[in-house]
Each structure stands twice: as C-alpha cells, then as structure tokens.
C-alpha cells in the first residue's frame, strides 16, 4: 500500500468517526458537513470527495456506528471459566446500560439509530441484524450457563434474551432521561430474570471497577 492510499483510507475512516460523534452530540437532523470536516481535521472538499451527498455520509456513518454499537455492546463480557455464568451475565447486562461517559454517548447514538431505521425502511435490515446479534449473544450465554449446570435446564433462553433486551432498552432510555438510576435499572432487569435463571437476589458487582457500584 502506498502512503497516499493509506492516508486516503484514514481520511474516510476519520470522517465517519467524526460524523458518528457529531450525530451523538447534535442529533442527526442538526448535523453540519462543515462541522464534521472540522472535527475530522479535513477540508469540506475531501468530505465531498468521499461522499456524494450529506445523506450518503450520514447513512454510512450510521451503518458504521451500528457495527461500532455491536462491538461495544457485545463484549468483552469476561471469560466464563474465570467468572462463571452468573457474573458474566451481570457484566453483559452492564454493557447495555447507559453508564455516564462513554456508554451514555453510545446510548444517545443508539436512540438515533432507532429513529433512522424507523424513518428509512432500507436501514431496517441493518437494525434487525444488530438486534439478532444482541439476542444471540444473550441466548448463547444462557445456553452455555445451562450446559454448565449454572442455570436451570428448563430455562427458555430465547424468552429470557427477549426480556433482557427489551428491559435494557425500556429502562435504559428512562435512565438516560434521569428518571431512575442506572443501578436501579440493573437491579430491575436482574429481578425480572432471576426466578427463571435461579439467580442470587443481588447481581454481582460490575466487572469494570470504573463503573459505579450498585
């Protein structure tokens, strides 16, 4: 690869990353191309060189952020052999809650993703793929827990995964509005699955000590 090609690739990636940040900060309707160029440290003409229209840039930025959202939300959940299924499940739920800082910003972006997919039917397969990935992530962890004898054999992994995802969205968005604490949301989700998975009354502490303790 020549130096010029490397720079070009870097430019495109930087523009997309800057666009994602701007969407999270300003909302998709308010984003300005000039601002994205400034954030990315490139000229507006380079933005136009890579992306024909504002819409093309925003669509691609959102696709890119779906991937990012998937990567951020789906791990690292901790090694099941080291932590066991119960602790790992709590860590996975934590990935889905709007803790202040990084995850909060991701959450705001995530709400923009919902909106974009609602407004643009052609984006729905991308959104549905993300949900399928997230669903499988939880369902697989529950099946692993059953196989390891840590969750009851009769637990319905798909129903539990559905419930966790829906509650994480419903409680997460309310926590984002400051209606309840993230730790409360965490406990509520835990309560809603603990009977079926035979979990202890309190979820174990977060794996990441930077996160506030419940």
């Amino acid at each position: 690869m020549t130096g010029a090609a490397a720079t070009e690739r870097g430019g495109r990636e930087r523009i997309l990353a800057a666009a994602v940040e701007r969407i999270a900060r300003d909302g998709i309707d308010e984003v300005r191309i000039a601002r994205i160029a400034m954030d990315a440290g490139v000229s507006p003409s380079l933005v136009h060189y890579h992306f024909d229209t504002r819409d093309a840039l925003l669509e691609e930025a959102l696709e890119y952020s779906y991937e990012l959202a998937g990567d951020i939300r789906l791990g690292p959940e901790g090694d099941v052999d080291e932590f066991g299924s119960v602790r790992r499940l709590a860590a996975m739920i934590d990935q889905f809650l709007p803790y202040p800082g990084m995850l909060e910003r991701d959450w705001i972006l995530y709400v923009e993703l919902w909106l974009r997919a609602i407004r643009h039917p052609e984006m729905r397969p991308t959104a549905a793929r993300l949900y399928t990935r997230m669903h499988e992530w939880f369902a697989e962890a529950i099946r692993t827990g059953i196989a390891r004898g840590e969750f009851p054999a009769q637990a319905d992994s798909d129903a539990v995964a559905n419930r966790i995802l829906a509650l994480a969205d419903g409680f997460g968005v309310r926590a984002l509005f400051g209606e309840l604490e993230v730790s409360q949301a965490r406990q509520e989700i835990w309560n809603a699955v603990k009977a079926e998975l035979d979990l202890p009354a309190q979820p174990p502490p977060p794996l990441d000590p930077a996160k506030p303790q419940p």
Binding site: L115, H120, N162, A166, L167, D169, F177, E188
Partner: protein, 203 residues
Amino acid sequence: MSPRPRLDHVRRPELLTAAAAVIRQRGLENARVVDVADEAGTSAPSVLHYFASKAELLKEALTSAEERFYEELEIELAGMEGPRERMLKIVQYGAGEGDYDAVLWMELWARALRDPELAATRAELDGRWRRSIADVVRYGQERGEFGPADPDEFAVLLASLLDGLAVQIALRDMEVTPDRVRELAVKLAERELGCELVEGTRC
C-alpha cells in the same frame, strides 16, 4: 396586497391529526407544511394561521397523538369491569394496537433528549402511561384478584418491557411480532401479580 388566506372548516385538531399522519409517512425531518395542508385538504397559509411555525405544528402533533392514545386507553379501561381484562387491554395497547404506532413515540423520545420542553412533555406522558398501569394494579388488588406487588414499581417494569419490545416491533425484527410481545408481557405480568390473566384461568 396578497389576499388574506381563506379559512375553511379545517381547525387545529384536524391539522394535528394530518400532521401526525405526515410524520408517520415521511418522518419528522421530511414533513413539510404543504404536506400537512394537502393531507388536511387545506392550504399552507391556512395551516400557518393556526401554528406560528412548522416546528410548533410538529411538536404539538407529536404530543397530541400521544395524548389521544392515552385518552382512548382510559376510555377503554373505564368500560371494563374485570381487572384482568383491563391489564390485558394495557398489554394489547402497548403491543402496538389501537390507533397508534411507535414512530411518533420514538420521534418524541429522541427529540426529547435534546429539547428540554419536549423532555418535560415526554416525562408527563410517560407518567400518565405508568399511572394507567398502576391504577389497574391497585384496582385488581382492591378486588382481591392481584397479589401484593408494588403498583408503581410494576408500572415502570411493564412500561419498560413494552417500550423495549415496541422498538423491536418497529424495527421489524422478525422474531418479535405483536403476538410474541403479548405473550412475553402477559407472562411477566402474571408472575409479578401472582395471577393468571388469560381468560378461563383462575387467579
């Protein structure tokens, strides 16, 4: 001098309904005053006679669509005798039935993240949704049909579940259908309320 726009029979409520329909079809970002006028069978100047700006019109349209949803729900609930029947109606409404879909709700919630005025409206409407649920729980407990769950805690739990599932229905996640939502929500409610909700079964 341009003629004063002729004001026909179309009034604010009709315009709000038309604006909601346009937002549903075109999305908030692409909704134009002329679309709302076409939908309502009137002219753009007539629309702007009632609303100072497009922003005001769209904001009010989002709010009034939600309000109508709650009004309809409250009327339906009041017409039902049994608490279990009422709880099933709540679940049915939350699963996307009734004259409503998640599009307007999501536009409102997403915009409320950045607009303090809409954030207050959103909080008020969400409070109303949760009160409707909590009232049914209290009603069922008074009549000895529901177990001793905390009505307000249950309300936020069920509302969160239904909202989260509504997102998945709206994104056309094939695994999550309105039937599946009902099943998941009924199961959660039955467990929390210690009572079977589905017709023909006992408490």
